[in-house]
Amino acid sequence: MAGIKIRNLQKVYRDGKDRTFEAVKKINLDIEDRDFVVFVGPSGCGKTTTLRMIAGLEDITDGEIYIEDNLINHVEPKDRNIAMVFQNYALYPHMSVYDNIAFGLKNRKVDRKTIQQKVEEVSTVLDIKKELHRRPKELSGGQKQRVAMGRAMVREPKVFLMDEPLSNLDAKLRVQMRNELIKLHRDFDATFIFVTHDQVEAMTLANKIVIMNEGEIMQVDSPENIFNKPANTFVAGFIGSPQMNLIKGTFNERNFTSDAFRLPLENLSLNTTLKDETPLILGIRPEHFEVVQKADSTTLVLTVHITENMGSYQNIYCHLNDQSVTIQTSDHHNFAVGDELIVKPINGKIHLFDGKTEKTLLTI
């Protein structure tokens, strides 16, 4: 069972002048065997550093990593039974595709016949059998990606680590490779850990998403829960496109009150008791508004700023006093800049966060 346990994992970079930067801040995480875990977050959030520490390519400042309950802090990368796929493929340019795939097995002194058999098996699965004699420079981006996958697969590792492996592919190929990765995960008896900054990849591939920011884990959950029950405003804003609208206000007489509108909070399941004047942040996804004709105290009266026609739907970027609010609607409206738009949040689709801690106030 290739479950991974991460306990108080920390990475601190030091320069020669005693300046330090804490890239990963004492994180804890449990990854089950055969999980497809996606680390997602903005650049510099520590996701790749965490992956590299699991791989053994980066020294651990503090904390422990266990694979199959074995502490691997001081185990060489080659002895961790893991394989890694890199963002830029990292294929050896002077070797043929066959030699690239076989390289790891040759280093492990596997006999030639077994190597040949395994390379052929993997190349058949990845549909690169015809390219085995070619050099990496003669391959397309998608083929290089497959070779990189093949190099990892041929070793039959217990854990696959992937560092933004799809980011160099074009949009169409990325969708295709995503589907292939899902299929590979289904067929292989292995744990997949995938790093990306692309939320679409995270949502489509993972059965568990780890959202990171500034070296800390913001939330670990299934894609559905990450989207529907964000633990804090960072997760709420990071997942979903266009991002969730976050409107500041206060709690007053069981209502969310802002300068522009008042929203009853009666049907919400809160994890705490709120007092009047408690600062709140109301989160509403752009698609969770309905356009209405008549304004009342519970509606938002917005001023249209920009409209974006996306084909099957429309994004309308508006202003509400000083704040920006984005509306997504499948009905196409012909708004001009400065037009008035009246919208109402859909019942049961709102999120509520503490105005100070920015953590959710809803029961998860």
Binding site: Y92, P93, F103, N107
Partner: protein, 280 residues
């Protein structure tokens, strides 16, 4: 005169200046080659006959029959080869450590290494000579090639800079594939550094092949002489016009390997390197 005509004019004069420069540079070589085929009495003929009436190959054959030139060439080649192997081995190992290994004082040590490049050769010459004499290497070929196995600051710098252009992901991938640092150097890094290696081969070959000072100081026996030293002995054996064609023949032979290695090496280096295995 419009701008196009001005550009054409400028280009024309640039070519003229380059051609004059090239002609001045190549003229002594043409004279050397031409003289190496002449009879001694025809050397100072005026006007100069660039193409001899009769090609006298005797000057070349005499170098091998009368002056043991094949042995001198063999000695030179042997020293060149050992120097190249020594430098590539020692410098690549050091450059790999400076490029890829983690060490607290790595950059300071590298600066110290670079600082040794500022020392003029004459400063280290005497201590080196005393040392080699003390350990009994005077009069042997050892001082001419063993130091190459201890590295050269310039070649280490050259290789280290080239290694730094190799994406670290390739090194990481090799580590994940279970490769040791030594194997990474010889199986991944060096095959990808052919242009830098070729540059070292060219520089090192030219420096050692044409080296006169080192062999002159350390070599005593005639059978240990290198081509450069032998050429000097040849010149001093026959002073006067009679020796000039044969000295020119020896000089031609001396420069042929350098020209060939530079010619082929340069064409290889100019191809450059493109890391198609890694998308950047």
């Amino acid at each position: 005169m419009d701008i196009l005509q001005k550009r054409k004019c400028l280009k024309f004069f640039t070519y003229i200046v380059i051609l004059i420069g090239a002609f001045l540079m190549i003229m002594p070589f043409i004279w050397m080659l031409s003289t190496s085929f002449k009879e001694p009495l025809k050397v100072y003929e005026v006007p100069i006959k660039w193409i001899p009436e009769v090609f006298n190959f005797k000057n070349y054959t005499r170098l091998f029959t009368d002056y043991n030139f094949s042995l001198y060439m063999k000695n030179s080649l042997k020293i060149c080869l050992l120097n190249i192997v020594g430098n590539i081995l020692s410098c690549s190992l050091t450059a790999y450590a400076f490029a890829f290994c983690k060490h607290k004082y790595k950059n300071r040590l590298f600066l110290l290494l670079l600082a040794t490049m500022m020392l003029p050769g004459v400063v280290t010459f005497f201590p080196q000579f005393i040392l080699f004499n003390y350990i009994g290497w005077y009069g042997t070929l050892l001082p001419l090639w063993v130091p190459a196995f201890t590295g050269s600051a310039f070649y280490i710098f050259l290789l280290r800079q080239f290694f730094l252009t190799i994406p670290t992901e390739l090194i990481d991938a090799a580590k994940m594939d279970g490769t040791s640092d030594l194997k990474i150097l010889f199986q991944i890094v060096l095959p990808m550094s052919k242009p830098a290696i070729v540059v070292i081969i060219i520089y090192n070959f030219m420096a050692v092949w044409n080296d006169f000072f080192g062999p002159l100081i350390y070599i005593i026996r005639e059978d240990q002489r290198t081509v450069a030293v032998a050429l000097n002995y040849l010149k001093s054996t026959y002073e006067g016009t009679s020796s000039i064609p044969i000295v020119m023949a020896a000089s031609t032979l001396l420069i042929i390997p350098s020209v060939l290695i530079y010619f082929f090496g340069q064409s290889y280096v100019s191809k450059g390197i493109v890391f198609k295995g890694v998308d950047k």
